[in-house]
Amino acid sequence: MAEAVKVLPDDIQQIITVDNWDMRTRQGVQRFRELKAKSLPSIALDGELVYESLIPMQEELIAAIRQRYVAKNKD
């Protein structure tokens, strides 16, 4: 899943900050539970769980990121 984020194009990389939690650690488990995730791998955007158990197509992930970016910056 981390790879799907890592290979996003540069213009997307510039508007996002990526946090990667290691599920082997207590911190990773805590974040997983905070997000109310159920399965792995999971991707959350702005603290909202968006993808679980599946790696989205790159276009789909880019669209989801852009949609949130536009909504946050419309003013």
């Binding site: 082997r24 207590r26 791998p41």
Partner: protein, 318 residues
């Protein structure tokens, strides 16, 4: 002596003195805790521990080095040798939790949990396990509890030769930080509890098994998410909340291929249970006594046998 102020714990195996171990905790260059464990003069040892606590190691050394008691050494001198060994890097910090490894390949093992100072239930459990043909018994801790007869229970466990690991009550007693609700126990019982491991690893046929009490292991000084078996502990305790949260079982199943153990046993929830997730067996060991019913767990190997069973027997005054 050490570069940072994160406390480091050391266990020094003594030579020529009564206590077989000295437990030492050091923060930076300060001795923050010292315990002479398993023998000797408990009063004097406690006094020495209190006098030396929170003092810089370089101030302590001239006070303790070279004192003879017998065989040209003493508890104080052994402590000096331990501190020298730490300084030279010859004594490595102790693992955050003690892991006992059973060298024998087992085919049938009995388990008890939450003994809670109940020697009567313990006797019934031993009889039940023996009748079931178990090769050995493992007690998953909380041997002690606030109000019951802890010394008698500890004596019964020591006599029986049962493999026991600590629960949080036992750890609190071992460290001398139990609350006032806990009944007093002897120094010998306290030392015995301190020397107990906190996890038990054994082989059941071709299955690697891990037994621990619960999440107090994660609070022990120096606990690392990358310690041996920490992954199993983090997943069972933190992720699956001791198998009480079924919604995360798919995530647990994703993590189990990284487990070292095939079977994991815990005792924290006071409930008996057996789950199979991601090809691993996870077993909850319940309390030894519930009213007048004494319960033990039986883990056995073999294609024809069910891996885990609970055996119950009714007794008077359990």
């Amino acid at each position: 002596m050490t570069d940072c102020c994160q406390p480091l714990r050391y266990i020094y195996k003594t030579q020529g003195v009564c206590p077989p171990e000295i437990h030492i905790q050091i923060s930076g260059n300060t001795l923050t805790r010292v315990r002479f464990v398993g023998g000797g003069c408990p009063g004097n040892a406690t006094l020495v521990g209190r006098l030396l606590q929170d003092r810089p190691v370089e101030d302590i050394m001239p006070l303790i080095e070279g004192i003879p008691c017998r065989d040209n050494t003493s508890c104080a001198d052994q402590l000096a040798q331990a501190l020298r060994a730490i300084e030279k890097g010859d004594l490595a910090p102790a693992a955050p939790f003690r892991l006992a490894q059973d060298p024998t390949v087992r085919s049938r093992i009995g388990f008890i949990g939450e003994v809670g100072g109940n020697p009567q239930a313990l006797r019934s459990a031993f009889e039940t396990v023996a009748q079931a043909g178990a090769e050995t018994v493992v007690c998953l801790g909380n041997i002690t509890c606030p109000t019951r007869n802890n010394d008698e229970t500890i004596k019964a466990l020591r006599r029986s030769g049962v493999n026991a690991i600590q629960g949080p009550n036992d750890w609190a007693y071992a460290c001398g930080v139990e609350t006032s609700a806990f009944s007093p126990i002897t120094a010998s019982s306290r030392d015995w509890l301190l020397q107990l491991p906190q996890a038990y690893v054994f082989q059941l046929g071709d299955k690697k098994c891990l037994a621990f009490h619960g999440d107090f292991l994660q609070t022990l000084p120096g606990y690392s998410d990358y310690d041996p078996y920490a992954l199993e502990i983090n997943m069972i305790a933190g992720l699956a909340l001791f198998m009480q949260d079924e919604t995360v079982f798919p995530a647990l199943a994703e993590m189990t291929p990284q487990f070292t153990a095939d079977v994991i046993l815990f005792a924290q929830t006071d409930r008996w249970g057996h789950w199979q997730v991601g090809g691993k067996d996870i077993v909850g060991i319940g309390p030894i006594a519930d009213g007048t019913v004494v319960s033990v767990g039986l883990l056995q190997d073999g294609p024809e046998k069910r891996l885990f069973n609970t055996l119950q027997v009714g007794v008077n005054d359990a």
